[in-house]
Symmetry: C3
Subunit: 481 residues, 3 copies
Amino acid sequence: MAPENLARAQQTDQSRLNPDRLFPAELATRTLARALYETVCDLPIISPHGHTDPRWYAENEAFPDPAQLFITPDHYVFRMLCSQGVSLDDLGVPRADGSRKETDGRKIWRIFAENFHLFRGTPSRMWLDHSFEHVFGWTKKISAETADESYDHIADCLTRPEFRPRALFERFNIEAIATTESALDDLKWHQQIRDSGWSGKVVTAYRPDAVIDPEFEGFAANIEQLGEISGEAATTWAGYLAAHRDRRAYFKDFGATSSDHGHPTARTENLSQSEAEALFQKALKGACSAEEADAFRGHMLTEMARMSLDDGLVLQIHPGSFRNHNGPVLTDFGRDKGFDIPTRTDYVRALKPLLDAVGMEKGLSVIAFTLDETSYARELAPLAGAYPALRLGPAWWFYDSPEGMRRFREATTETAGFYNTVGFNDDTRAFCSIPARHDVARRVDCAYLATLVITGRLDEDEAFEVAHDLAYRLAKQAYRL
Amino acid sequence: MAPENLARAQQTDQSRLNPDRLFPAELATRTLARALYETVCDLPIISPHGHTDPRWYAENEAFPDPAQLFITPDHYVFRMLCSQGVSLDDLGVPRADGSRKETDGRKIWRIFAENFHLFRGTPSRMWLDHSFEHVFGWTKKISAETADESYDHIADCLTRPEFRPRALFERFNIEAIATTESALDDLKWHQQIRDSGWSGKVVTAYRPDAVIDPEFEGFAANIEQLGEISGEAATTWAGYLAAHRDRRAYFKDFGATSSDHGHPTARTENLSQSEAEALFQKALKGACSAEEADAFRGHMLTEMARMSLDDGLVLQIHPGSFRNHNGPVLTDFGRDKGFDIPTRTDYVRALKPLLDAVGMEKGLSVIAFTLDETSYARELAPLAGAYPALRLGPAWWFYDSPEGMRRFREATTETAGFYNTVGFNDDTRAFCSIPARHDVARRVDCAYLATLVITGRLDEDEAFEVAHDLAYRLAKQAYRL
Amino acid sequence: MAPENLARAQQTDQSRLNPDRLFPAELATRTLARALYETVCDLPIISPHGHTDPRWYAENEAFPDPAQLFITPDHYVFRMLCSQGVSLDDLGVPRADGSRKETDGRKIWRIFAENFHLFRGTPSRMWLDHSFEHVFGWTKKISAETADESYDHIADCLTRPEFRPRALFERFNIEAIATTESALDDLKWHQQIRDSGWSGKVVTAYRPDAVIDPEFEGFAANIEQLGEISGEAATTWAGYLAAHRDRRAYFKDFGATSSDHGHPTARTENLSQSEAEALFQKALKGACSAEEADAFRGHMLTEMARMSLDDGLVLQIHPGSFRNHNGPVLTDFGRDKGFDIPTRTDYVRALKPLLDAVGMEKGLSVIAFTLDETSYARELAPLAGAYPALRLGPAWWFYDSPEGMRRFREATTETAGFYNTVGFNDDTRAFCSIPARHDVARRVDCAYLATLVITGRLDEDEAFEVAHDLAYRLAKQAYRL
């Protein structure tokens, strides 16, 4: 389906999707929301932060089967099934040793279909329905009865060339997408994409947690490797900073416009160089206390911001997740298995050292995300509504949802306005959900704008302009894409 | 009035209750909400957690007077009057020594009636209006002018057999109700109910705070008593655990399907048996520090969960209340006098020890409640949306209200779905408010579901199914009633 | 424009303001909201807490120019411009040394006009649009194109007598306004207002932070000065308390009905007199630790409350702002430059010492404000809904906005009702925004009340009564004005 027809398809007779979904119920507001949406629904997708696999675009192989496309890799999906007693093994989730207890995609799909009611009211349900219909043309409801039929339908599609990654990328009308790679990554898939001559714009992002966090598995070895890759004496403080600069330049060569940092807290520090160096040496010896490790991570955010002043990378801070909360699942299945839980996160004291150092820099963009919605109105909007260098990332992860996005706008706009926000991030590894997620964001934002107009808080002509900004322009501008 | 007529009565000419109350204003949504509600409004009441007095059902005596039914025992009511300067003495609230300064129900009722405007906008007002009209057929507004007339009307009703507890229980269409008793209770009222041959299903719940909390008044003496009742050597660690098992079995004999724990925090621990034993011995000597007492309480939640794996009792955690905040009122009037104040409560780190121990058990049900709404979306929904053993209790106490329930659904559904929640708890000692509270919950849930349908987030046939689940089936299933 | 015509003007053809702004979109609710609003829109303004300059009313000089009226002194406005890279110097914000880099009002105004889109969706935009139209009769949109024309229009108005402070005060229909002065202020402007014979009711409020906070700049010198002004031996504990009593009486002579306290936290203490005296002596020597300073501030709130029992001043607590967060801006521009950021604030444990001491006093009014909306439903409403002495201040500062006020009502009413709240505070130094702010509050409250009626939670006749209470009566009563 050509991009310009994505919205149209919703109005076909067989569609299961309400063409006015996520618009307010009241008629005047709904009518305006729809009018706003119609001006942005076909805009290209800017996806400045996400986790799709660059190998897909590099190799352009067919996706293996419906279960491995929609269930096994999507922690939103398998954790919900797990929460009602389905075992991760039965869903074919890979164990820590790499083995999979169930490899029959059809069996996995049947469990998913039988339990599809669990997703009622969740964004996963909206993304799945949207993907099934828009990507695969499947318009029946998923259930035990339609399990095999839907599996066969999608599996058949996947064998066809128009369902290969690059074809979908083009059909999704993605103007630019960022993947995320470790600082130690050789970016070979990005090299292969470039070498292939394919025109799709896939850029990387610099994710240095493995060489910034003293508590990361194998930190010292990672620094050794960093030194080798960069050709710098990375075990000295000066060499370590130089190695970062080198890697950032390398990532920039592959289109990177941002770095990304997933620390447990939003803590920043601005230590003296000698203090930082001492902590770094301690970290290399594995001798940092938890407090010292936290201070070092915090200081490195300020170092990253200083490097951003030179090389222009946007600095993204994604704090506040208690990773791998489930001890037994961590042991048996490893990291990232749906048990990352948000925690209370403070920004006011945490960001002060970084902001005191570089917060007034007009050329710098620090984008802060949160998993603690209480910080939107109380901390993040007042900070972003004052410091030139600070912007607010969109509603993130558990809040990448209709209610989450609505609360984000309601809580941040009055203090930070629209122009201290940066448009939408899909932040996903679920490739087929990308158009669905952007569609949800565009609908929710248009609903919000329509409400402002109808309640006399925004002029109608302004709403059309802001709708375009939120759907397209701000992401492109903030991420320099 | 027969249960099937409760909803009908709202449409009589003389009713003061808006038949569409709590439904969204917009017509299409309201129409659907009403249609949903009409399929659940007459369903039997499952009341799996509450504080009605089993003696009422055992003795089936008339309630003494309107003030002692509606005011004196209801902390929602008398604390609001107190907040505007009415003294607890003038309301006949019993003092710590058992005396009551005012015993004239009519005088108390007049104060209440003169101050009825204070309840505008509160759920108490909705419950009272509903009770007056549906239970007593009183349809005028309560005010200074109608104080005596309303008092006489209700007092007259109370003399009649159809207003005795069992008759009301049947009229309210209660299929099952749980009371809550201390682990040390002999359950004689439950025995008397059983002996009477009455068919009403009244079950108990196991509340062991007095023998689990080292800071509870008379902890050591309570353990002595626990030993006597259970016939176990309860002052040894092994005997103590055996005594719990014995009492749980006894409570199960009287229908208990749950235990309930009202700790200051949600802290859990999973200590070694020798560590737990050492703390227990210290607690018996009254030698625990505050930190040690907290750790012991936390550990006992995990022990309770392990016992639940054997005996099937559902484990309810009700944390986060700062009890008896008002020093002078505690001194003069004792506990539970409307000055229990919610506090910030953490769940992520607090529940980890218990969840690491038993969180993946499919046969276990741990139901977590909160008085800190910030934890809904940030902590509880992500936890319950992943761990098989964890479910979310409904909006509780101060949030047992239209806005509170709406916020609960909006904050939890997107991450935890509907099926990690457990239906409604009325959690009340105000007997006449029970139908009103369930009616509010059913209306608010139907309003929420209608909104999801009208905004394209749920199919209409699904909404009807979920409405039934939330009003009836989930409570019955989750509490095994 | 005469006050009674303020609302009318919105309906003229040339008005840019939606006459139904802030009312719900649904027709029945909107119609009722409008009906409610029409009964309160022309009520006199009670402004019991604010920061207008008494010198304006004393001297009654013309305001200098549009930029110095609307931009330079308004931290809401200049911090938003700053957040998008406009320098404070270019806006003529005074530096710490008193100098202003830009003094050309027209140049400043052009920057403001070019960036007017930044205010989309913010309350500042509503206040500005309302002020421009209602106060100055300017009905075009502010933009780069209209920058000079609007500047000239407003500048011209300012030369005319009907735009002098007293004329505006009368046109705004202000029945009473409170300013805020330091305990050390001689109140000469208030004296001059009184001496002038002008009938406008301008009262002061007692703000003793400079002589209560051991960490305040020049604390010991301030105490010296306090002693001189009051004629008490203020460096002794007894003399210090006597000096406060003396100053409070002096402020009462100039109409004060309240004291106001802007501490970092809501902490209160009720120390013994000897403990308090020891801390005081330490504070005079500059020897208090941060913890001791905090304890002393906390104790002084309880002392102020005790004095209030004698002299009847209402005690206002405004905690939770991290003042002057931006180090470089504090150094270059000084305090109050838009970088005060809210922080998490606890009330339950913090207020207990004060409430244990005086919370049951019916004659006392303690009004608590918050910058942490999570405390509304969890802490403040339960406390105010129980303690006779405690009331809730309205949505404050960043929350003096449509969404902020709506969240305040939704979060507090169900537990505290309407009558434990105190009407609206504009809390502003932006004189022309006063009618706009009260108008927003009246509209939002009427919208909320209309919603309650349409959803069956409040009777229509009650809504009209409550609308009047919230717009006028409660502020007058709570602040004894």
